[in-house]
């Protein structure tokens, strides 16, 4: 009985102290962690729409959409935060749209766990810049080798699945969200 009481007491005490310390550290770091996430989004938004100065965040159908204005408060474009599955895990993408929602300003891969050196190359400019100025109304096609049509992008050698995944996520997001965003922007 004595041993049992000691076991409960010691373990309970250690757990309580641990909880106390973690609460303290969490409180100290919580704001910084939140800020880092916000900063990363902001960096990506202004990279896609360089003339932007500030943005308003709205949630449309569960997607976060950032409406970007320039210095003189003119609307310059919107960015959609989207994600989907890649070859090994989730890929998080920010898709930038032009002010009239007719073409893509660019995409930014925020997070991926694709194979480093192969699928991981999707976050390189050489791949992601291919999405720039593509039309929103025609689905983008991911091809191996030479590009034939205006809405083709070239897959990364040895990483067809990752390249396809990005294209699929972008197409799906555009198809679903662009009409809704147009509606929303009218209001």
């Amino acid at each position: 009985m004595k041993v049992l009481a000691k076991m409960v007491l010691v373990l309970g005490l250690i757990a309580a102290l641990s909880g106390f310390f973690l609460a303290y550290v969490n409180q100290k770091t919580y704001i910084r962690i939140k800020e880092n996430q916000e900063k990363e989004i902001a960096r990506a938004v202004f990279k896609l729409i360089p003339e932007g100065k500030d943005y308003k965040t709205s949630v449309i159908q569960g997607y976060r959409v950032y409406f970007v204005n320039d210095e003189s408060k003119h609307f310059r474009g919107a960015c959609i935060l989207t994600s989907g599955s890649g070859y090994q895990g989730e890929i998080k993408i920010l898709v930038g749209l032009s002010y009239n929602f007719k073409s893509i300003k660019g995409i930014e891969i925020l997070e991926n766990v694709e194979t480093p050196g192969l699928g991981g190359e999707i976050s390189r400019k050489s791949f992601s810049s291919q999405f720039e100025r593509k039309s929103v109304s025609i689905p983008i096609k991911c091809v191996k080798g030479e590009k034939k049509n205006s809405n083709d992008i070239q897959a990364i050698t040895g990483a067809t699945i990752s390249s396809d995944s990005v294209t699929r996520i972008v197409n799906r997001t555009l198809k679903k969200l662009v009409p809704l965003i147009k509606e929303y922007a009218k209001q």
Partner: protein, 199 residues
């Protein structure tokens, strides 16, 4: 004599009992995060932090913790420091924290740490424990750093993202893939065996 002893506790973690290369513990992070030298170094430092602090605390509390619940108690202590390390990295080094992915929280189940708590810290004074765990932590970091550098140099021609060779470098892609980690680790363990046998 006392000093000599401490020196020995400290040094054994590097070669004679290197946790990765001789004891073959903690291989999961050793294989997974050594894609670049920087990742390997950060992982090593996080492990040193968690290993040293939790071992010392376990050693201080060793007479207080009942034998039956020692593993549970060790795990809570380890998990506390791992969470602190994880939050610290997320707040101050977000880029690195992202590239290490789930492997920082997974230090909780790294068997080097529980192993040292059970095999050493729960039986020795905290001064000896401090030197033992610091040595083990540095030995782990050393092994990871060598493997990480090797893989980064062979797969990208750079170390700590500093380019070593000109543009003519033909990358050896396999080294950045999981297979490369196994190849590199195998070679390192073989070299280590040679060194230990010669002694």
């Amino acid at each position: 004599m006392q000093n000599n002893n401490l020196n020995q506790e400290f040094k054994k973690g590097f070669i004679a009992q290197n946790p990765v290369l001789v004891q073959l513990l903690g291989l999961c992070p050793a294989l997974a995060v050594t894609t670049t030298a920087l990742n390997a170094l950060t992982m090593g430092l996080a492990v040193i932090f968690v290993l040293t602090l939790s071992s010392v605390i376990v050693s201080v509390l060793r007479k207080l913790i009942p034998y039956q619940v020692r593993i549970a108690a060790f795990t809570i202590i380890i998990a506390t420091f791992v969470t602190i390390a994880d939050l610290f990295l997320k707040a101050n080094l977000p880029e690195l924290s992202k590239s290490l992915g789930p492997y920082v929280p997974l230090i909780v189940v790294n068997c080097i740490i529980l192993g040292r708590c059970e095999a050493f810290a729960s039986k020795n004074s905290f001064v000896r424990t401090f030197f033992d765990s610091l040595g083990m932590g540095l030995g782990f970091t050393f092994a990871l750093l060598v493997l990480g550098s090797l893989r980064e140099i062979l797969s990208t021609g750079a170390i700590f993202s500093i380019n070593l060779f000109g543009s003519g470098f033909e990358p050896m892609l396999v080294m950045i893939l999981p297979a490369g980690a196994f190849l590199g680790l195998g070679v390192m363990v073989a070299v280590m065996n040679l060194i230990v046998r010669k002694k």
